[in-house]
Symmetry: C2
Subunit: 322 residues, 2 copies
Amino acid sequence: MNFAILSAGYIAGVMADTVSRMREELVLYAVGARDKSRAQAMAEKYGAQKSYGSYEELVSDANVDMVYVASPHSHHYEHAKLCLNHGKHVLCEKAFTSNLAQARELVALAKEKNLFLGEAVWTRFMPFVSKVKELMDQRAIGDIHALQCGFGQELTHVERMTNPALAGGALLDLGIYPLTFASLFFGTEVAEITGDAVLTDQGVDAGNSFILKYRDGKIASLLSCMTVWMPNTGILFGEKGYIIAHDFWNCQRLTVCVRGENPYDIECPFEISGYEYEVRAAIKAIEEGRLCCDEMPWEESLRLMEVMDGLRAKWGVKYPFE
Amino acid sequence: MNFAILSAGYIAGVMADTVSRMREELVLYAVGARDKSRAQAMAEKYGAQKSYGSYEELVSDANVDMVYVASPHSHHYEHAKLCLNHGKHVLCEKAFTSNLAQARELVALAKEKNLFLGEAVWTRFMPFVSKVKELMDQRAIGDIHALQCGFGQELTHVERMTNPALAGGALLDLGIYPLTFASLFFGTEVAEITGDAVLTDQGVDAGNSFILKYRDGKIASLLSCMTVWMPNTGILFGEKGYIIAHDFWNCQRLTVCVRGENPYDIECPFEISGYEYEVRAAIKAIEEGRLCCDEMPWEESLRLMEVMDGLRAKWGVKYPFE
């Protein structure tokens, strides 16, 4: 499988490094960026055969099987569409698109073209997820009724965060992670969503908090901010104790605290960077002729875009291109 | 100052123990309970001179200067009123009353009788509060824009928590603490309150989450549940790092985490149990002829009751006596 990377930014670099270490599974074949020299530098650094100074050239290379779209989420729709229209399988960074309408179009196009299209929410594919699910099945902390998850990074100097034209704001860039954490462990049966946000002068959310109430009576309290640093933990609360997912968005360690017993850690380390799991899941789906991954099916990508559209509508966050 | 304790439950015992160790400051004079033998046992254990088998007898003792009302919050209104009508200063456990109307009546009565009336939210009076405020003044973690605070204890076997006639539910018993944490550090200028709750079959909130958005753009994300255990931390998030208040409701240790530096702890231990600070503040106010404490003025007790009334109205939690 020949793997190509669209964009040469930070995340693209982590993926290039990861895939270059997965030689037995796939080939890091090409890097494409708007700036030819950056594409070339990344291709050389990680041993990709080809580099292109435009996305059109990248997707026109008949040897590319699959493209990882690593541009900001404001451009996922345009870039994923470009790839699908050139017959390429697509692994697209999160948030999937800027809104539900764009996500629906992409899914329809992938179906029409019979191509794989997956949202690369790396958190969903990591080893800690099955560890937590095992603990839940074993009722290690009894019945679980609530969770709390916050994600904060001081990113006010980063243009993609602050610019409405780049679908800025904390929700799509950071809030997608707490939302993912809740969805992973509390599922999809949401009865009610409540939330509030603090907006910047430019009209995107600097910080937000939202609450998901589930049909079975669970409650998830979530928070994301681009103005402050947080410890970034996700915690599941049960009648006998709690499970802490440290650095929940790229979690490699859990702490299980049962009341009256000594807490214990469960290590769930990555083999490489944590990106390998989403790549493997995508390859497996493609090899088996499936158009999306079980870990992140289209219905789920669409559902989460709908949740975020709904929250933005409540908060009055509208992007200029909408 | 002759101090009396109304009720002989768990909290009454902690207070009796505390006051018995404050001999140079005040006298643990009497204990009153509906059950004479329990009152007597507690009086003997902690060296109180008098014990009474009814609250009426307790407040009729002319030597009692001040009564600590330690009954469940469903009975604070009735018991505080009884004390005030008998000319006693009152230190009343939290939540102040069951609703705003009751709180307003008590405050009016205290004013009329020219007696001290204070809400015993011990958290507000503890040494950690001024430590955190110092750190905020020093901008130890830069500007602070958000906080997260959760309080959970598995208390579904406790009748005062589950019975609507006892003003049950997580909010008034547990939620008052995260609300206090937010109020202590983010103040009173709340622009918007949003929240949701999961109700029990009896119609009180088993768990809730609510969000306070402040006029200056801060946001507080709060959670309380009576069905699960939580680590019970309060965290303030700033642009340079965060401050963790461990066991925030009776906090004796802070951890300050500045990005790129080693985290450090600040110890803020209690002298006795943590109850001594609210007692001292009450005595000081009484000696200075003030009718409430600066740490928890009437306006603040009334404001928080109003916040909780508003949340309950949203959630459809109504007590049978309302």
